[in-house]
Symmetry: C2
Subunit: 447 residues, 2 copies
């Protein structure tokens, strides 16, 4: 048999780790559905012509070929398929394809794996989960949705076993308006430059703004001072005006940003901060932009990003504006696990292992298991009628907290808590573990 | 923008249909975990050398290529990746790779998409969910596990909105022992022939057995009579012996099949039947084999298949025998939807739409929504402060059963059931919908 070895970039979890990932997915789904978002999945593939829509041939895409493809089958970009690299391109396609069957605003969440054909030596994930939340309007979408989506995400993040988080919000109109009002034409070059601030620092970005955005030294200083502004309330606005910013577009951005801040603070106090350094390199955002950092793990980069895009998709009849946020779920889970921030209380779902005293009485043990399962208690039966000490060690090794000893002649049913060693008589029709022992819990690791 | 059109073979669901699929996944997971099976996912790709292990170059596999691959990067089968076409090959690799970190018997379930590079015109699914349940032993695995896995599957299927189902079980040792005892050497050719019985009928198989398995007319008759045997209890054994079968291997198969039948009947009465026509074409099964048919939809083929394989994987130190069953989940869900067998009670999770009387009072509506969500009631707030009649139509179109009218000067909170038209005063801190209205229910469609 071929040698087995892990594939770099394709993370895979052991059962206890997968339990952590599943918990994050469950929390996301639960909170999203509480807010009326419907779950949707799209196929994993799109035609290459869709994936490279804007001629972005630099995208790291996995192209598919059938092992038994006929000659010429993959010559046509419309017929050649690639694995999706995010969930936004598929969403745009899904909305256009199903527009007559969806009701707008369309509130959907989507948790699926995406693939990026990164170079093998890059050490980046090549397969990972993204968890997206978007509201898509038909032709129009009210501004309050921007805050609404951020509130849902804040509630999701607050329920996850994180050390803490802060959503950083900015507004493209505010940035563009400010850059223009200090005399810079190429505002996209400034955004690209500011995007690099955390990585290369103020001085290098200053040089970049002069070289690539055509800024004077004073203009570059103004942009960097602008990017240094943060506030938990509307006070960022005066700071911006104090730097000499003005104009209709900028004021529109200030009004939108102020509204988002106020609405999110009202729902989830302390979850959000205005941070004018947030740029989001991607060019399709048109207003509010978000990035989210985990307390103590800023080096991980943004764990949840997104914003407003006025034109997710369009056809001859309609334009579809949207607001969306996306969690890089695998990357987040990977950090939770590797930094020992969260753990599952056990690697198996079973709360109880029912022992078997002999193969002839296995059915008695099965009957106990059925009675426990009927009341929602995850239960397995010992795989063999080994000596009781060995069966207890099996449960212990699997992390199962309770071992059940079925009634025998001269002895009632009994159940032992392997952690305390305490053993009590018990009735399979009524006994239940403590609520926290019923299922495998995922909790922050105590320090 | 490029023309949008559905891709044949890549099913995609609208929100209400996805709700049905999600329900099937949830039931599978819930029952599997009740029985102590841990959820695991494997990466979507395997090296082509793994996927084509036994030189099966006829497999319909999607091969991956990085869009920006360096020259020669995909010349090496060990480095070239393909999408997995089932969850068994990845399980074998996962068990070997992680054997030191798993505890055996390893009880795992796995619900993931798989891909098959079928010819586009075949009309088969090229991307679909499989839901697998396996118990893997290290070096040995007791026979009672075969019944245990069937019981779990029977409980899963019993909780799904199916018109009914029957698990058909046979045993390879019984078949092989019988074919040998009537004088046929090439028992695999007989199994392959019998596998075609539902498609081509008795006469054609008779000819096939004579042509390809070297059977005489009398031997072919005996094999076909054997395949015609079914029973809900152990009476199949006498029928087999009555056809002239005998021998140690056959009796071993009879004993195993009798035990599986009895154990499953004891746990889930009426769920299983011995059916000696079941062959399972794949050659890795070594004992018990299962197929499952949905009542009234036998033409769909088996919805859940599997069996015992004594050698899922092996290395220099250990052999890993297993028992597994797999549901072709997408195919099943597709039939439930297309034949109108099951439906979701609504396409969105929301039980309540809170109306908004003006944008100035949106926060009052948000406060109501927060109070309802805090008690687990899925709620959304009207997207705009349109006329109330329009807001009610929005809820109606989305399938949301209740519209909430927040308190205003001179009027208490009120909630209206859109189906009955009944409107009552209500307190956001205490009101709750009926349990069946709380979440979108998936139920069999009433006839």
């Amino acid at each position: 048999m071929a040698k087995i070895s892990a594939l770099s970039g394709f993370p895979e979890w052991l059962p206890a780790q997968r339990r952590v990932e599943q918990h994050v997915i469950d929390v996301f789904r639960h909170v999203a559905e509480l807010h009326g978002f419907a779950g949707v999945e799209t196929r994993a593939v799109e035609p290459m012509s869709q994936l490279l829509r804007k001629g972005e041939t630099d995208k790291e895409v996995y192209v598919l070929r059938r092992l038994h493809a006929e000659e010429g089958e993959d010559a046509d970009l419309d017929r050649t398929l690639g694995l999706h690299f995010d969930l936004t391109v598929p969403l745009a396609r899904y909305v256009l394809e199903h527009q007559n069957d969806l009701s707008f605003p369309f509130r959907r969440y989507q948790i699926q794996k995406v693939w990026r054909g990164e170079r093998p030596q890059d050490g980046r994930f090549r397969e990972f989960y993204q968890a997206d939340l978007d509201v898509i309007g038909q032709d129009s979408l009210p501004g309050h949705v921007e805050a609404e989506v951020a509130v849902v995400m804040a509630e999701i993040l607050a329920q996850l076993p994180l050390p803490g988080f802060t959503i950083h919000v900015n507004n493209r109109k505010l940035s563009e308006g400010f850059f223009r009002s200090v005399g810079i034409q190429d505002h996209e070059a400034v955004l690209r430059g500011l995007d690099k601030l955390p990585k290369i620092g103020r001085e290098a970005v200053h040089a970049l703004l002069m070289d690539e955005a055509g800024a004077s030294a004073a203009q570059a200083d103004a942009c960097l001072d602008f990017a240094g502004i943060t506030s938990e309330d509307g006070s960022f606005a005066d700071a911006v005006r104090g730097l000499g910013g003005s104009g209709e577009l900028m004021e529109e951005g200030i009004a939108e940003l102020t509204a988002v801040l106020a609405r999110v603070q009202a729902s989830v106090p302390g979850a959000i901060v205005a941070d004018l350094s947030i740029a989001r390199g991607l060019d399709y955002y048109t207003g509010t932009v978000f990035e989210t950092f985990m307390t103590g793990h800023v080096s991980l980069g943004s764990i949840c990003s997104g914003g407003r895009y006025d034109r997710l998709a369009a056809d001859n009849r309609h334009t579809y504006p949207g607001v969306g946020l996306s969690i890089g779920l695998s990357r987040l889970v990977s950090r939770l696990i590797s930094a020992d921030l969260a753990a599952a209380s056990r690697p198996v779902p079973s709360a109880v292992l029912v022992s078997v005293s002999s193969e002839e009485t296995r059915e008695d043990s099965e009957a106990v298991a059925r009675a426990l399962r009927a009341r929602g208690i995850p239960t397995e039966v010992a795989p063999t009628a080994a000596k009781l000490g060995k069966q207890i060690r099996v449960a212990d090794r699997r992390g199962i907290p309770f071992v059940w000893f079925p009634a025998q002649e001269g002895a009632d049913h009994a159940v032992r808590d392997l952690r305390s060693g305490e053993q009590i008589e018990a009735d399979p029709a009524t006994w239940a573990p403590a609520p926290e022992d019923l299922t495998a819990q995922v909790t922050p690791v105590a320090r």
